[in-house]
Amino acid sequence: MTPYASYNDFKEQLLASFRDNEERMNGERKAPLHQIRRAALRQFDQLGFPTIRHEEWKYSNVSGLMKQAFELDETTTLTPNDLAPLEIPNLDGNILYFVNGRYHPELSHIVSPAGQVQITSFASALKSEPDLISAHFAQYANYQENSFTALNTALANDGVVVRVPDNTTVDQPIILRFITDSRTKNIASQPRNLIVVGKNSELMLAESYRTLGEGASFVNVVTEIVLDRDARMQYYKVQDETEKAYHIGTTQVNQTDSSHFYSATVTLNGSFVRNNLNIRLDGQYAEAFMYGLYMPNGRQHVDNHTLVDHAMPNSYSNELYKGILDDNSTGVFNGKIFVRPDAQKTNAYQSCKNVVLSPGATMNTKPQLEIYADDVKCSHGTTTGQLNDEALFYMRSRGIPKDEARTLLLYAFSQDVLSQIKIQPIREYLERVVQEKLGK
């Protein structure tokens, strides 16, 4: 495929795809859900793709995305043989495969009883659970300002819908595996997930992103998470994609009273990665923990934007992002904490620590605190430096060779984040890949 001549080509292709879908609709065209999609499309049309003149995209230039043309709705089927190299050893639980954004039940297995958790593909939930969808879809993720969220809201046709009833612990984790098959074509997909956890219930869920093949890929994902009173959720996002993978994702979390949200976002590989993690603490005593680890090398670019919106009193957030940057890679961390006038007794902590291994690598950090209440505790700090020479000397003076000392130090640095991951096979898999990447 020939590259787009301009931004507009890609945009036109996306807009046309929406109109094509629309023409194939019957009664659904008048449905409220479709009205939301139309509004989102209009918004995308108006906003267009962001440029670096946009404050939120200052350090992340998406123009590379337009250097190749993408297929928008290309479904392929994978065999277990294709999947074998992507497998995470010893992983048990509900494992769902999405190929180019489409759910593949024949590759997936759901083990949790339906009474514990309802796991449905987004495409079928649109038909089977219209009430759930209309109650939550696009109610949290803002498509007014973020053009990628608008694009996803307009075009998303698959993903997962998870619903946990009240007072239920889902004892098996849910693993969403998004595989882009770009072996023969450049593939774009727009997965959409909705996770609703009932009162006093508990869920572990992970999203994993991988790419097959040498073609370019573009994943534009939106996950909306709703935690009811006293709900607890562990949420992990793991990215290990190729040198031609573009990933833009938004995870939007809405928390009510005394709910707890623990997240870890781990980016191992990808050409261009932008993760938005937005949490609204819309209840008293709600708590959010956010951990992140990114390790770009080569010319990779990883951007983590987080937003914690403390809307009610007595809520707590704690954030630790860590980066190891090598070669000519670039990293961005933008952490916004918003404390609204009502949110007295807020505790909000944020820290971002980076090790830059090469003179060609760059890290941009920007903490932003906007505090409108007067009785709050907030702190933030960022550090960016090189590997500690004194520590290296100390280790070498005990007989540990330089490369191994370096790996040990960096691995220890990453452990603050990896040790937070409670799905053991995923943690072990990440520890191994991190060690392999550090050993290079």
């Binding site: 500690n388 070498r396 003076s397 005990r398 007989g399 540990i400 060779p401 040990l408 130090l409 220890a412």
Partner: protein
Amino acid sequence: MLSISNLHASIGNKEILRGLNLEVNAGEIHAIMGPNGAGKSTLASVLAGREDYEVTDGSVQYNGKDLLDMAIEERAAEGIFLAFQYPVEIPGVSTTNFLKTALNEIRKHRGQEPLDAVQFLKLMKEKMKLVNIDQSLLSRSLNEGFSGGEKKRNEIFQMAMLEPKLAILDETDSGLDIDALRIVADGVNQLRSPDRATIVVTHYQRLLDYIVPDFVHVLYKGRIVKSGPKELALELEEKGYDWIKAEAV
């Protein structure tokens, strides 16, 4: 074992060691004393291979090999151990894990099989007694949040585990109270053997009450200006360094 001849070393453009000579044989304990800024810690650092220092002249032979030619980790594998004046805090790496890696690297260098977890723990238990160090300390991140005394004891514990041929103690007494000093000294003394040598770098005579040296050397302006038996340390304690400085001029 160690033969230092006409050693010159600089940091930046500043020459610190200016023609230092020293012979150390197996089984001996040498104390290096001297006023502040004489180059005591520089000598310890140069022997361990710290890269901030540049050796501009002279040679160091260690068991017949050119020490200055060896990488830092190679020196350690060949049996050189530096107990740091300021042990480094290493977050996220436990002492146990750190030492297991170090010990097995050294064993690999010597052509020995690595110790498995059981053998390693057994050895560790044995050596822990030597310096009266607590297990809980060893499972914590290396030196992180340790008190001054704990850090120094940990250094001696590491030394006991790695069983060096030539141990260099750089101001190990600094910051220690008398009880900790005794524990550290006991650890060093128990490691005394006819095939090991120790260089004790210290500003004060106090440590030498517990670790009795065979030779005392006075370092001043980057050279050893006076050597003598252990009594020299007492003389220095009594008279200070001024008479040495006067003699050296």
